[in-house]
């Protein structure tokens, strides 16, 4: 048996001091393994702790119980080397140009000179940002800004890319196209990708495997395998099995979404 790239064992997250001083059990226990190079998506009702799951794997928040490992090493307190994160919110640095944004992490990592230029050029071309290299983020659309954030993450050549609803603020067409770009990046880099999303179709189109999470406290209800070939793009939304997958995701998720809204599930 191969060692998992990312491995969570009985992980829970409890927040102290909610609105009334109660503890909030946000997540878990979750046991989950991500294989090296796979595209893994997580869907779940709002407030189920999807983003908490990402923060835990990124080392941005500590687990209350259980262990999380990346490449065989326990994650605690800091973001491990080789992990890149893209958030839903606009995380571009508004005081830097597109180039400055993308080069930021490289400069922090002490990479300069020709190597910096080479990676910068590659990222600008890959994300279609060449013409906007000297622009400031405020001059770009939301989709372009998100590309800057993705490019900024990619230049560091992460082995694990964590995406927290990265296309949540974009319109449907842009999301489909950004999905294509993400698939290409995933194929080209060989990185493991974890995508958190509330969009079932997005998960169905992009991922190899999809975890469906329950209402809070979030647990993994089911893992759906899509069976897509590695070479794929957004045109698979027309495939018959695409509808089957989204249908299956929704069947698992419907009751949980109703619970999240505070309603009891109707007769099935």
């Amino acid at each position: 048996m191969t060692v998992a790239h990312v491995s969570l064992h009985d992980v829970t997250r409890v927040y102290a001091g909610g609105a009334l001083g109660h503890e909030v059990h946000a997540l878990g226990p979750i046991t989950l393994q991500l294989q090296k190079g796979e595209f893994f998506a997580v869907v779940g009702p709002s407030g189920c702790g999807k983003s908490t799951l990402l923060d835990l794997i990124a080392g941005l928040t500590p687990a209350t119980q259980g262990t999380i490992e990346f490449e065989g090493r326990a994650i605690k307190g800091t973001v491990p080397d080789g992990v890149g994160v893209v958030f839903q919110e606009d995380a571009c640095f508004p005081w830097l140009t597109v180039t400055g944004n993308i080069a930021f992490g490289l400069r922090e990592a002490g990479i300069g000179g020709e190597e910096l230029q080479r990676r910068l050029d590659h990222a600008l071309d890959l994300m279609g940002l060449r013409d906007f290299a000297r622009a400031y983020p405020a001059q770009l659309s939301g989709g372009m800004r998100q590309r800057v954030c993705i490019a900024r993450t990619l230049v560091l050549q992460p082995r694990l890319i964590l995406l927290d609803e990265p296309f949540g603020a974009l319109d449907q067409q842009t999301r489909l196209l950004m999905g294509d770009e993400l698939l290409r990046v995933w194929r080209d880099t060989g990185a493991t990708v974890l995508l958190i999303t509330h969009a079932l179709d997005e998960a169905a189109m992009l991922a190899d495997r999809i975890a469906v999470m329950s209402a809070r406290p979030g647990r993994v209800l089911e893992i759906v395998e899509t069976g897509w070939p590695r070479e794929r793009d957004s045109r698979i939304v027309a495939a018959p099995s695409f509808g089957e997958i989204t249908g299956r995701l929704w069947r698992s998720l419907r009751d949980e979404s109703l619970k999240a809204l505070g309603r009891s599930p109707g007769p099935s």
Binding site: V79, G84, F87, D90, W95, E108, A138
Partner: protein
């Protein structure tokens, strides 16, 4: 320029022309004030003579030191204070009432403590300036989006690197507002202190000229202070505008 800016300029020019007219027609007598055009000429003569060089150097240097130290200390203190909610709750109401303190009332105390040298003058300038910097730093840091702070952690930046590379650049336009106010307050503090507790500097020279009915020195010096203070302010405010424009959609 916008329409409002044209009117503003016209308003100022009209005021100066009116003053010129009142002086020329004798409504304001010569002993009280010379016409503005003569002030400009007197200032040119005074600057060319070099008689005020030592006073100017001393005052501008003291203003620079007072505002410079206030900016560095104020930003550092603001950064340190920003994350400490309990301490902030104690101090923030004090900042809000700070400018109600008539700081010159303490000048006998400052003379006793620091003597008649530059130190108490710089200190008054600093004391007036520093709180404006702290308040604006806190205001700017409050507006830094949480995702940028999270991003700093993804890049594994420590607290100081996070401040220098993420939160302070993000808050830069607000910091500049603090700097602008700091320079203005430092001018008020230093010049005011020179009036009452100094034997050198532009403030002292103005007060000396006033006591000797020497309008040919007094008004040009007032004009000089006014021009320098406004020029520094305008330059900083232009810089602030450039930063803000970069961040808004064009």
């Amino acid at each position: 320029m916008t329409r409002a800016a044209y009117y503003r300029l016209a308003f100022i020019v009209a005021g100066i022309l009116l003053l010129e007219l009142l002086c020329r027609t004798g409504v304001i007598d010569r002993l009280t004030m010379q016409p503005p055009s003569e002030m400009v000429r007197d200032l040119a003569v005074l600057l060319a003579s070099g008689a005020m060089n030592a006073a100017m150097l001393k005052t501008f240097l003291n203003v620079a030191v007072a505002s410079g130290v206030a900016v560095v200390a104020g930003i550092a203190f603001g950064v340190a204070l920003h994350g400490r909610r309990a301490v902030r709750q104690v101090l923030e109401p004090l900042f809000a009432t700070y400018y109600a303190i008539p700081i010159y009332a303490f000048y006998p105390l400052l003379i006793i403590l620091f003597g008649l040298g530059d130190a108490p003058q710089i200190l008054i300038g600093f004391a007036l300036a520093v709180v404006a910097v702290i308040v604006n730093t806190l205001n700017g840091l409050d507006r830094v989006s949480r995702v940028l702070v999270k991003t700093a952690r993804v890049y594994r930046l420590g607290p100081i690197a996070t401040a220098l590379k993420i939160t302070l650049p993000s808050a830069a336009p607000y910091l500049l507002t603090g700097v602008r106010l700091a320079v203005a307050y430092a001018f008020i503090g230093v010049i005011g202190a020179e009036f009452i507790m100094s034997r050198t500097g532009i403030g002292y020279e103005i007060s000396f000229a006033y006591n000797n009915f020497d309008n040919k020195i007094m008004y040009p010096l007032i004009l000089l202070i006014l021009a320098v203070s406004i020029a520094v302010n305008a330059a900083l405010s232009q810089w602030e505008k450039i930063l803000m424009r970069r961040r808004s959609r064009s």
